[in-house]
Symmetry: C2
Subunit: 234 residues, 2 copies
Amino acid sequence: MAPTPTANLLQLLAEESDNAAVKDEKAQSKFTIPDIVIGRLPVYLRTLRLLADEGREVTSSQELGEHLGISSAQIRKDLSHFGEFGKQGTGYNISFLCQQLQKILNVDRIWPVILVGAGSLGTAIANYQEFESSGFRIVSVMDEDPQKIGQPIGDGLQIEDFADLKQRLVISNAQIAVMAVPAHAAQRVAGQLIEAGLNSILCYAPITLAVPPRVRVEYIDPVIHFQHMTYYLR
Amino acid sequence: MAPTPTANLLQLLAEESDNAAVKDEKAQSKFTIPDIVIGRLPVYLRTLRLLADEGREVTSSQELGEHLGISSAQIRKDLSHFGEFGKQGTGYNISFLCQQLQKILNVDRIWPVILVGAGSLGTAIANYQEFESSGFRIVSVMDEDPQKIGQPIGDGLQIEDFADLKQRLVISNAQIAVMAVPAHAAQRVAGQLIEAGLNSILCYAPITLAVPPRVRVEYIDPVIHFQHMTYYLR
DNA sequence: TAGATTGTTAATCGATTAACAATC
DNA sequence: TAGATTGTTAATCGATTAACAATC
């Protein structure tokens, strides 16, 4: 067996040496953490911060679970993928666990974000003050409407020409884009963002984007939530 | 065994008569459709409508799956919970399947929705024109800020006093609320909405609400999506 | 020490997928 | 008829939970 590609994984997984003799892909999928677990970490983090704001110093998987409506076992299991963060008998130190989750999620820094679309939704997003404390800063708001280009928006920004995307990206170094554009423009805009090198998109347009596998897209569409709720209504 | 409560289920499940002798709760949980399936139906519907807009008349589970990045088997399985909507060899008639999904999701009508919070996000939501075609109409926008009350908003609405919630609900008959309020106000506002009789809430505030079991809450928080994405970034 | 709570294992539960007979 | 695609079954895969030894 070729030693080199496996060696990398072995470093990452020092304590897993027993099972390390498996094939590379297997190893990947075996030790890779389920995306569904990753998806819950931001919710844990948000809740922990709320507790910290209330002046609390420790909590338990049980308390967190009650807050969130999930089982304490799930919380402990989820965290156990990343290490041991608690103390038997006492629980978790809130600010320590916050720090750890921020590191895991890579939000122990500020990520520059590009916002495309300066309609009323885009404006609301640009105005939202709380991104910064969560690890994100909107560094650029772009639109295609000549009427809008040059107008002030958000906190000291000016609407820029989406045609200048590539130049702006060189300066901002953003890897993340938010799309607040009409559905009919969304696929084209996504294509341009991807072509310019972006690989993470948060899409507010009510459409599933066709993107290459390297690009991650998440969606926000209130209609999907409404229609989910009405299934249970009469 | 008491015949009456079971009888109801038996009607609903005529063809399932073999297994119908189980306990009520069991029967419920056995024949109840998984929430995760319900959650995909609006996405199917959205995609089908897009195809319809392109003038397409039929599609297949394979084509839908490719659009959405899921397996054709999953789509067929999901739909099979509700009936048979396709034709072997040809696939699904798009407009027929749209109609059926709309019925299943109860969006073959217009649901009145109350919007609480007339800040910039609330304003963006109030301005959004596309709810109507998906089954929803914002009938009331409320806020607590005396400066805002009385101002025009959205399509011919006026911002109303949130203190008048109960009277407004009597008129509008809304069962669904959207909360676009600051995090610090969200739990209180939710309590008031629930106390007034609402049972479905779409919450844009970055907080998990404590609500009684009869109330369904869905959340939209861009930060959760951002932090999910940054896990995969360097 | 007694009580509490973790991290982890094994069992359970549920969701997804592959495969195929039925049939358009 | 030949080809395509459904609806459904059974197998697989993965996620959640219950339980408990370890230990603070």
